[in-house]
Chain length 117, copies 2
């Protein structure tokens, strides 16, 4: 198991947030959660995120996902934003950086958006 | 049942999007989905959204949710953005506008963020 896979396996769900229908978010919870949604709120960033998430190996080399019609520095910038938002984990191996979903964070966001309505 | 509740009950899930782990998003799917995440990517907007979602009546009068520390025009602006993104439904009744979640859209976003990893 690579370091990246180990890191992904041990990442725990962030304390934030309740399901939307449970109760109002506090200001602090709203800050944290909005930052993650903001990171997903750009089409190119979302495509890069989708490429990592759907990669059959469970992780993606930046060299495999960079064909989104923008320059390499822009790709790097978007991947940095996704990492800073806690949505992706990254690991350098040799020449390339590999990316993997941070699954507990996704589960938290998915649970947040789940409603019994 | 109010017109708003009827509208919410008949709203169907948008065609977008597959689960993140299924396949890459197309450019068009990424545009649509990123617009919804962008609407949730502001702390004040997310608090307003949370106030509507957690309201015990299943809908909220704008008069009940406007205490988020910003001016009334700013509240109106944020609610308009949430409506335009397809996340909230609104209905004017007398003096006030009432808001309700568009539940099928939330289910779609929640499903999108669900992964078996």
């Amino acid at each position: 198991m690579s370091k990246l896979a180990q890191l992904a396996a041990t990442t725990v769900a962030p304390p934030c947030c309740p399901s939307l229908t449970d109760r109002e978010l506090t200001e602090e919870e709203a800050e944290l959660t909005a930052a993650m949604f903001k990171a997903l709120g750009d089409p190119v960033r979302l495509r890069l995120f989708s490429k990592v998430a759907s990669h059959p190996d469970g992780e993606a080399c930046v060299c495999d996902i960079a064909d989104v019609g923008v320059s390499q520095p822009t790709v790097s910038h978007h991947l940095k934003k996704l990492r800073e938002a806690g949505l992706l984990l990254s690991e350098r191996r040799g020449t390339w950086v590999y990316y993997r979903l941070a699954p507990a964070v996704l589960s938290a966001l998915s649970g947040f958006l789940t409603t019994s309505d």
